[in-house]
Structure formats: C-alpha cells, structure tokens
Subunit: 378 residues, 2 copies
C-alpha cells in the first residue's frame, strides 16, 4: 500500500483544484475569483458576489438583472415545508431546523433526480432563496408570530430582515448585513465546504451535500464560534466584570476563547478588519458601543498575550448583537451566506469529479487477532 501521511486534520494537504477562492494566509489575503475581499465588501452586493462565485466573472447589467430575477422568483416556500416547520418543537435550535428542512426540500424539488450542471444551478438558486426564508420563518413560528410573506422587490439581505422582523429594515441594517453576507460567502476548503465536496463526490445530490455542510457549520470550531463569542460578551456583561480580567481567568482555567486564531491565516483575517469597522460604526450610530468596546479590549489583550488574531467570528458577534439579532441566529446567518460558496464548490466538484476517499493509518490490534467463542472470553 503506497500512502502519504498527512498532518493531523489534513493541515497543509491540497485536497482539490479550485478556481473559486484564493487565500494567502501569510499575507492575509482573501479573494473570490481573483478579486480582493476588500474591493468586494466596499463595492459589491451579495447577489453580485454570488454571481461572481458561480460564474467566475462579474455580471454585466443584463446578467445581474436576470440573476436577481431568478433569485426573487425562487422566493416562495412550499406549503409542505411551512407545515413541517410548524410541527417542529419550539425548543429545536435554528441550525437543527435548517439542517432538517433543507433535507426535506429535496422531496419537493422537481429536479431532485437530475444531477446535471444545469439542474444544480437551478437548485442553487432555490436553495439560496430557501435557506434565508426558512431561518426567518422558523424564528417567527417559535416566537408565536405570524409568518411575513417574502417581498420580491427587496434585495436578498433586505428580504431576510423583512421576513425576520416584519418591519422594513433601515438602510444601515441592510447594508451591514449585505456586507456580512459578502464576507462569509466563501472560504476555500473550510470544513463545511469540504464536507459538501466529499458528499457530492459520491455523485449524491446537492441537497445531501448542503445538508451535510449545515451540520458541519453548526460545530463550535466552525460557524458555531460566532455564537460562542456573543455568549462570552453576555456573560461578562451579566457579571459586571472587566472583560480583560474575565478572559484572563478563563485562560488560567484552560478555557478556550472563541473567535481567535485560524488554521490558514498567520496575520489578521481580512474579514475581521471589515467586521471590526462595521461593529464600531454601528455601535456609534446606535449609541450602543458596549459590545464593540468590550470586544476591542479582549482583542487587544489576546493579540498581546497569546499572539492570536481575531477571526471572522469575533466581530460578527457584536455586529449582529447591535443589529438586534438573536444569538442563535448568528450561525444560521453564516449558512445563508455560505450557501453561495457551497453551491459553487459542489458544482465545481461535479464538473470534474473523483470520489474523495483517503486512507487511515491503522493503530488498532495487530492483524490477525481472532474470533473466539464467547465462553472463552474474559
């Protein structure tokens, strides 16, 4: 058997060729299809960025209108899915609900048995529209509120806030969420995207791959970290404690601080730069700088003491909190953005597919051990 032993967690191993996302972890560069994330965050929209991720180029006016129209057209949730969401217990977390509802979407997708490139593009429009609506609808249902019907005239970010809150969102809120969606839309072979590619590479369907990706994103070492950050800020606030002292005590007790460090970046995560700026500005505008200031104090201490940089999750927490979004919706919001990247990667995988099947280094009982009758076992 000829095998190569990889670092634990496949660190530094190239598992696929991909033309979607470029990361230079030493220089702190992230680019989608060659375009720097800072340029996109400053100028683009989630819709335009999704087009870029799926098509490899920015859309012209005609293409963008067509894309927005397709996405808006997909903005209606099958009554069966709404009934399903109504039947789920209100104690279910939004990530469990999203995972289950996306899995059930395949029952009602006319393209379910068609795994062609074109069918998967159609399914990607649907899934992108559905994920956001499912999160908003379930949040209202669990709070005993009426479902807010989608508004096809709004942008993706604005429609999500509208369906979530039932009031027309402010321009600041829409713009902030739109940038957050751009920043989270793709990140090369992160764990959820890699899970999606492993599943898709068996030639299973895109619903299976996205369902698996949602399950991976849920984990606290991945998307779940943004919720961990906000739980920490709330705990510090509730205790009336000094943030730096609180974090020092946690570190002394060997507890992990969410939102710091990254497998790939050795410098600052370029997404954190944007989110820090947004968090600060939002706090000023809202006259509510508490979460930003607490975050900044913790960041400076961890930078100095642990030489760790804030990652994408750290300032998304205070940003979403200042927007008034519930803590257990942070990871679902990550999902309603990352679906853009998941879909791009699944389609890229299927366009030049090979089963992803590594090997294990065996460390168990030496072969051949033997089966013995039960009465002879100790």
């Amino acid at each position: 058997m000829s095998t190569a032993v990889a670092g634990k967690g496949l660190e530094g191993i190239v598992a696929a060729n991909s033309g979607i996302c470029w990361i230079d972890g030493d220089a702190g560069v992230l680019a989608y299809r060659g375009i720097d994330i800072h340029e996109l965050a400053d100028n683009s929209t989630f819709e335009e960025t999704t087009y870029l991720l799926w098509n490899g180029r920015l859309p012209n006016q005609f293409a963008l209108r067509e894309f927005q129209a397709q996405l808006a057209l997909a903005r209606s949730v099958d009554q069966h899915i709404i009934d399903l969401l109504r039947g789920f217990p209100v104690t279910a977390t939004p990530m469990e609900v999203l995972r289950t509802a996306v899995s059930a979407l395949s029952f009602y997708d006319a393209d379910e048995k068609d795994n062609s490139h074109d069918a998967n593009v159609r399914k990607s429009y649907n899934l992108t529209a559905q994920l956001a609506m499912i999160v908003a609808i379930y949040d209202r249902l669990r709070k005993g509120k009426e479902i807010v019907p989608p508004d096809r005239s709004l942008s993706h970010a604005a429609n999500f806030l509208w369906m979530l809150n039932g009031v027309k969102p402010s321009e600041t809120a829409v713009h902030t969420l739109d940038i957050a969606l751009i920043l989270h839309a793709d990140h090369e072979l992160n764990a959820s995207t890699f899970a999606a590619r492993v599943i898709a590479a068996t030639l299973s369907d895109i619903h299976s791959a996205i369902t698996g990706a949602i399950g991976a994103l849920k984990g606290p070492l991945h998307g779940g970290a943004n919720e961990g950050v906000m739980r920490l800020l709330y705990a510090i606030d509730k205790a009336g404690a000094d943030p730096v002292e609180y974090v020092k005590n946690m570190l002394a007790a060997k507890q992990k601080i969410s939102g710091f460090g990254h497998r790939v970046y050795k410098t600052e995560d370029p997404r954190a730069t944007h989110l820090r700026r947004m968090s600060e500005q939002l706090g000023k505008d809202a006259g509510q700088s508490k979460w930003f200031e607490m975050s900044r104090a913790i960041e400076l201490y961890i930078n100095a003491d642990k030489k760790l940089n804030a990652n994408v999750d750290f300032y998304s927490a205070s940003t979403y909190a200042t927007l008034g979004i519930d803590i257990d919706l942070y990871t679902p919001i990550f999902a309603i953005s990352r679906i853009a990247g998941w879909a791009a990667h699944i389609i890229e995988q299927l366009d030049d597919n090979r089963l992803i099947r590594p090997r294990a280094e065996y460390i168990g009982p030496v072969y051949p051990a033997h089966w013995v009758p039960i009465e002879d076992r100790v």
Copy 2:
C-alpha cells in the same frame, strides 16, 4: 504557504489515525479491530460485531447481554418522528427520508447538547436502533400498510425484517441479513465515514455527522451502487437479453457497470466472496437462481475483459433481490449496518479531535483581478 499536493480524491493520503478497521488492499484483507472479516461473517452477529467496533474487543457474556438489552431498549420510535414520516410524500426515496428523519431525531434526544464520549455512546445505541426502524416504518407507510410494532425479543436483523414485512422472518432470511450487516458495518475511511468525521471534527453533534454520512452513502459511487447493480439485472431480464452481450453493449457505449472495482482493493473485495456464496445458496434454497446466475456470468466477463473484480455491492444486489427486498431499500440497508462504523469513527474522532481542514490548489483568475463598475463590464 507550505502545502503538499495529494492525488485527486485524496487517493493514498492518510487523513487520520484509526484503530477500528484494517484493510490490506493488495492482499484483499479486511479486519475489524484486527479480526478478519471472514471469521466474523462465519461466527459473529451484527450486535457482537457492533460491540467489537465500538469497544475494541469482543464482549463477554455479561457485556453482550447488556449491549443487546440497551439496543432493544432503544427500540421505540418517538411519535413525533412517526407523524413526520406520515407527512412525507410517498414519492420521497427512502434515503431522502432517512436523511431527513435522522436529522429530526436530534429534536427529541435528551442528550442533544451533550457531546461527551458517554453521551455519544448513548446516542449511538439510539441511532442504531432508530435507523432500522425508520426504514421499515416508512416503507410500510408509503405502501399504505399498518406500522408493525418493534419486537424487543428479536435480534436486530430479525426485528428489521419483522417490522418491514409484518411476518416472522425465516431463519435463513435472518441469518443472511445478519451476515450482510456484519459485512457492511465498517470500511475505514470510505466516503460516508470520512464525511461523518469531517463534520464531527468541527465539534458538531453526532446527528449532524450521521445525517451527512447518509447523504454521502446515497451517491451511486458509494452505497447507491447496489441499487445500480439490481437495476441492470432487471433491465437485462426485462429485455430477455444475454447478460454478457448486454454488458458488452453497455461498455461499447461507454456506460459504467456498477459493482466492479474499488479504490482500495487490487484483488477481490473479501466481502464479495461472502456475498457471492450467500447469493448462490439463497438462490438454490429458493429455487430462484436467475439473479445469481446472471450476476456470475457478468462477473466472469468483466473479470476477464476489464480485469475488474466484483465489490461489496455486486452480490448484495442479487442477495437482497432473492430475499424479496425492494430495490430502493438496498442502500438504506447499507446505512442501517454502516451506522455501527460511523458511530465508532465519530467517537474515535472526538476522543482525539482536530478540525479537518485541507487546502485547495488555486487554478482561478490571477490575483489581483479587480472589481469594476457594472457599466464598464462587457
């Protein structure tokens, strides 16, 4: 960035240390915890084999009784899940239904938020019992039949056949299915198990990891291949064609024949050896050797002409067909066995965890490309 480029599909790359399963692909050896699969197929039961996979050793009499009691105790399906299954459209495939229902199980699991080793062992008992029952219950519901209540006095294999068919299964049927469950229970880092480990390594929950694994198993390059084999046999039978001529024509038309070749085995898949024997014996006993004989003719031709060996999927098709099992239940039966291995791998991953996060080789537009205003785009 220091990275190593792996073969496509991570071929030959060691992605984890594991003490569960030993495969020597050159010698055609498969062993669970060091014990050869042939010894287990000849002597063991699915329950004993699952204990072995989870605990690293064969159980003594006390331990096996306790294990069987735990598994039987978990043999009741929450009424919410039954209601959910009743609500699914009868056109949904059993694998979509299984993926969705397993995802929903987490809503009703008291241990959902506990990701400790012990909690995951408890959840593994539950999931092992639930998967088989969900498959059986949904099959009856879609056929308009009454649900058959579980029988705690039966073995896992016997209870599945009982709940599926509503008649006490023959000894031959139980023994055949039990061996099939042993043979499918684990296979090192196959695509579904690897997907489960990638998901679990984010510290997400076991329901997320198993849901993702079911999605991966569904693919025709993985568990879905056994359905492909039987569809071929049915097509040949319906056409009244000679099997070898039929397959020759398919190959000439560049069509893929399911059930042959394997990423890891260069010799015969040792599971195929057992399944061939079972398929032949079952055919004789039932006076229905058609599927076996057709399979054998195809196998000999593909061996000689393509130098490809039958894999685990090839003779499981004719075996299940002779047992009278519907074609779209073959992959779900793979799942109700492989849950044993998935659970073992997830727990092993979490006992010594690191996020699984490889890199991609970037082949997209050169950085920095630039964002340009939409009116300047062609």
